[in-house]
Symmetry: C2
Subunit: 442 residues, 2 copies
């Protein structure tokens, strides 16, 4: 992408309304624009990252055997009356009346609707297990939206819903999502820790929040150091197999948010193995049994001919929230530092003298070579000061900067900077291409 | 994808409520489910097609130089008061009041919001031309939604907005979208014809509807036969160049919907060159000048220091509607016939005797080989009657069916059926793989 044809509205000043670093950096880097309180437009740079995050979430859901569909945003109130939640749900639910005076709502979540879809088609235990997910824009009318897209009103979420014949099978479904989440966040360059969460009236041990560590995280978390070094399940994980050994390994060491913190248990850990850190919740997985299937009569027939309400779980990932969480976890004073897997572009190509024939030609050649190799390049071909170009590149945080100027070209060299380490090397244009292709596509 | 782990709720009966063939087939093939009047859940098979259509639209927008972002669905009423449309827009606009009693709405379109984004950041003619687009779920509260997703209330649309310094530049922007649309619909296997449309008070010749031909189309259209044979601009089209020769070639022959039909002009065409057909509108491009930029004060500074309101156009594609239009254009009595580029899977692999070791092994091998080659396979590994399997495959309309049974395997052969031509050939499993890979990936 040529910057001259892109839309990247960088802000020079730090916006006053932004209380946290991810919000500030997203506004400054031209990634989002607030359109109403807690409602944002995703500008091109931000939207590219959002789509990459979404794609990683999708790939790992698919790998774990979940099947993608998409439910509508506008739901009928009748469905929520069936489950009993229409009156129970608070003012966060945006209620709507259509032109025929029917009560509708902008869905804050989809348990009712997916249960309705399930019961419409599935009759037999033979069709289970089933896990259906979607990645959907939702609305919750937060009384005081803040922290940018971290606590906005309109947000993108992945929610999966599992259907099983009994609690034991539901545990397998739960484990599959547990492992999928470990892989999902790891692929984004995040250190995510599953922490036991409140299960409500159902009780048991099948509710975990996934918390990523970030120095500027919203809440305090506590864990055993062992958990930080556990291996992440590989891409070759067999999701049909018993995954409980993996789940056991990840749930054995102490890990808790401040809400669930057990000081005595934590203090029993050797002092040099205790970790206190800041965290951000990015996922939540939850078994809720027959809470919706019973009132909504979502039953399946068993092999003996009897009927049983289906056992369900739900599995959320805050897709748009992850963008903020990623920045909280990966930034420095100069701006964002994107992990390669979610970076909006892989390389920023900086032309230090637009209009100089040799420099332009070298840049065009590098641009074409990299793009042909599948490396995503943002080519700064604009006629602006070098200092401003560098500041923008640091701010938007692409993993690599490739700097091309007339002086270096005379000696046959360009400069390659790694945004994360700050390391700079001078090398020939061809070496630079080889190195970038090896790093990005290798 | 293994059918046993997929969610494909085929309906045996033809749903009574469906008036048109695409609606009937989408319901029967388990692609959509109605959740409220005109509001549909996209079941897995339908959603896969929707995403393929969306991706083709995206690629061609990008190729033409448009830049993707995403605006929110919920908009502030204030923005619409600025343009004067809040009161003017009818009851199709879903109006909402949030918990703080602010007037909001579920956006039926985005001219106001994109103008707001533009004016917030763009100051100079040097930043033009600019074309920003998004692919977004919209809501229009149709009084009588019908024809399934063809005229639903919640629907997915691509809308692009161009910004130019004057009308002459705006014409170039318009031409770029015109050409992008020719490519977009062609890639989906559709014959789309641009037809001059009403321009309203602005007048001129910069408004076209793109109508695809389908025997069961919603309206009657008239055109010169020449237009059906015009070449589609190639992938190597230079969108920076003057595209008016292409646009002229496509707008010279007579082409009109019944609304704009000029019987005298049509009758002047030699009789054997007159085409009367049924059509479905799938896109609309439109230059509207300063209609929004003037009231909303979206101005740019010219090189002489004076300010001028920016000239705008908008360019819509009915992304979800296209799915219905595709089926109207491509079906027979047995079901859908997907063009390869938008097919939910490329191949249906039919195991005629699940449980038979040799047949299972042969199917597993074919499945693995095809998937590894990047061919998308729906593998029917269920233990059901052959007749039902064939009927389902014909109904869901994958381009190829690969049929594997114990009898054929004894002679070392499998059967490959082309859904569109109906042609069947017997060949070795390896030949079948080679042929499919060549057809799909070649």
């Amino acid at each position: 992408m040529r910057l001259s044809r892109y839309f990247l509205p960088i802000l020079k000043e730090t916006p006053k309304e932004a209380e946290i670093v991810s919000h500030r950096l997203m506004l400054r880097a031209g990634m989002i624009r607030q359109e109403s309180a807690g409602i944002y437009a995703w500008l091109p740079l931000g939207y590219r990252v959002l789509r990459k995050i979404e794609q990683i979430v999708r790939e790992e859901q698919n790998r774990a055997g979940a099947v993608e569909l998409l439910m509508p945003t506008i739901q009928s109130a009748d469905l929520w009356r069936e489950s009993g939640r229409y009156d129970a749900y608070g003012r966060e639910m945006l209620r709507i009346t259509d032109r025929h005076e029917r009560d509708m709502l902008f869905g804050p979540t989809n348990e009712e609707m997916i249960t309705e879809i399930f019961r419409a088609y599935v009759r037999s235990y033979k069709d289970l297990p089933l896990n259906l997910y979607h990645i959907q824009w939702k609305f919750r009318d937060e009384v005081r939206p803040r922290f940018g897209i971290m606590r906005g009103r309109e947000f993108l979420m992945k929610d999966a819903y599992s259907f099983d014949v009994d609690k034991e099978s539901a545990r397998h479904a739960y484990n599959r999502m547990f492992v999928a989440y470990l892989r999902t966040f790891h692929r984004m360059g995040l250190k995510a820790i599953p922490m036991r969460a409140e299960t409500g009236p159902i009780g048991g041990d099948m509710s975990h929040e996934f918390i990523i560590l970030a120095s500027t995280g919203e809440s305090e978390v506590f864990c055993h150091k062992d958990i930080l070094d556990l291996p992440i399940p590989g891409a070759d994980t067999d999701f049909q197999a018993d995954l409980s050994p993996i789940v056991s390994a990840w749930t054995a060491p102490y890990a808790a948010t401040d809400e669930m913190h057990d000081k005595a248990a934590f203090d029993a850990i050797a002092e040099d193995r205790r970790v206190t850190a800041r965290g951000i919740e990015v996922g939540h997985i939850f078994y809720f049994g027959t809470k919706y299937s019973e009132p909504m009569k979502a039953n399946v027939t068993l092999s003996d001919g009897t009927e049983t309400p289906v056992h369900m779980g739900s599995y959320g990932v805050g897709v748009s929230r992850l963008l903020g969480a990623l920045i909280e976890a990966h930034h420095d004073d100069d701006g964002i530092i994107w992990p390669t897997s979610v970076a909006p572009f892989h390389v920023g190509l900086v032309n230090l003298k637009t209009g100089d024939a040799a420099t332009d030609a070298a840049c065009e050649d590098l641009y074409a070579q990299l793009e042909n190799a599948g490396v995503e390049v943002l080519y700064d071909d604009e006629d602006t000061r070098a200092g401003a170009k560098f500041a923008t590149m640091d701010l938007i945080g692409l993993p690599w900067q490739l700097v091309v100027g007339p002086r270096g070209l005379k000696d046959g060299i360009v400069e390659l900077k790694n945004r994360s380490s700050g390391e700079r090397v001078s090398l020939s244009p061809q070496e630079a291409v080889n190195r970038l292709v090896a790093d990005i596509k290798g």
